[in-house]
Symmetry: C2
Subunit: 119 residues, 2 copies
DNA sequence: CGGCATCCTTATAGATACTG
DNA sequence: CAGTATCTATAAGGATGCCG
């Protein structure tokens, strides 16, 4: 086996294709990740809280995205060993450093929503 | 045919699910859109130039993403009626207003790359 | 409560070949 | 040069049910 296929994707997965923006997207590139992280900016949240705040994503999707974020060192998963189970998610320091990105996204989205409601 | 399936997605497509971040993502949510837009921050670019700057995406993908961005009023497509054909893309004013988002993405990606190379 | 495993459907992305 | 069309493979995503 050699470089038969998936040349482009592999190069992307490998790391940088030349652009720092792609590095960022490889971490928060999922559709729901920025939304979840944005909600976590305000503090720790339980799984169910995240589900309620992101009703357009299924619990399954939210789980998967959270796992990836955890693997990338963006969030911590805190399990409280009690019954009924309780799990909270919080941003790591690296995750909190995403605040400028997330806040600028929110700001732009707000402007867009204003433009749309005006039209 | 009625509201059988895709309930969640439909609600998302419909507009806002409650969060401005989602509004932003509905416009630049694609994996390649932020990269393309970031490159266009520096000025007009031809199709081939965008392909060269984004080697991990296929020309087909780039075409599709550019079309969506055009439909959302983020970029202009300028066709020069000459042979050989020449098409340039440039940000609209709305597109340029994304600069803070794109630049914060680049900044964070640069920090990430530094952390990775240090590790 | 907070998941995870499974199954299944749909959407997406890639390769390739062709056109104005 | 700047795409478009088609076809196929893969993966994303949803529904459901079970478990700690």
């Amino acid at each position: 086996m050699d470089d038969t296929v998936t040349t482009r994707r592999d190069r992307r997965k490998a790391g940088r294709t030349g652009c720092a923006v792609e590095a960022t997207l490889s971490v928060i590139g999922g559709v729901w990740k920025p939304v979840l992280l944005f909600h976590l900016l305000e503090g720790k949240l339980r799984f169910n809280a995240l589900c309620r705040l992101t009703p357009s994503a299924t619990p399954r999707m939210i789980t998967l995205q959270l796992r990836e974020l955890e693997a990338d060192g963006i969030i911590n998963r805190i399990v409280y060993p009690e019954v009924p189970p309780k799990v909270e998610y919080e941003l790591t320091e690296l995750g909190r450093s995403l605040a400028p990105v997330l806040l600028s996204m929110r700001d732009w989205g707000q402007r867009l929503q204003m433009l749309e409601s005006a039209a």
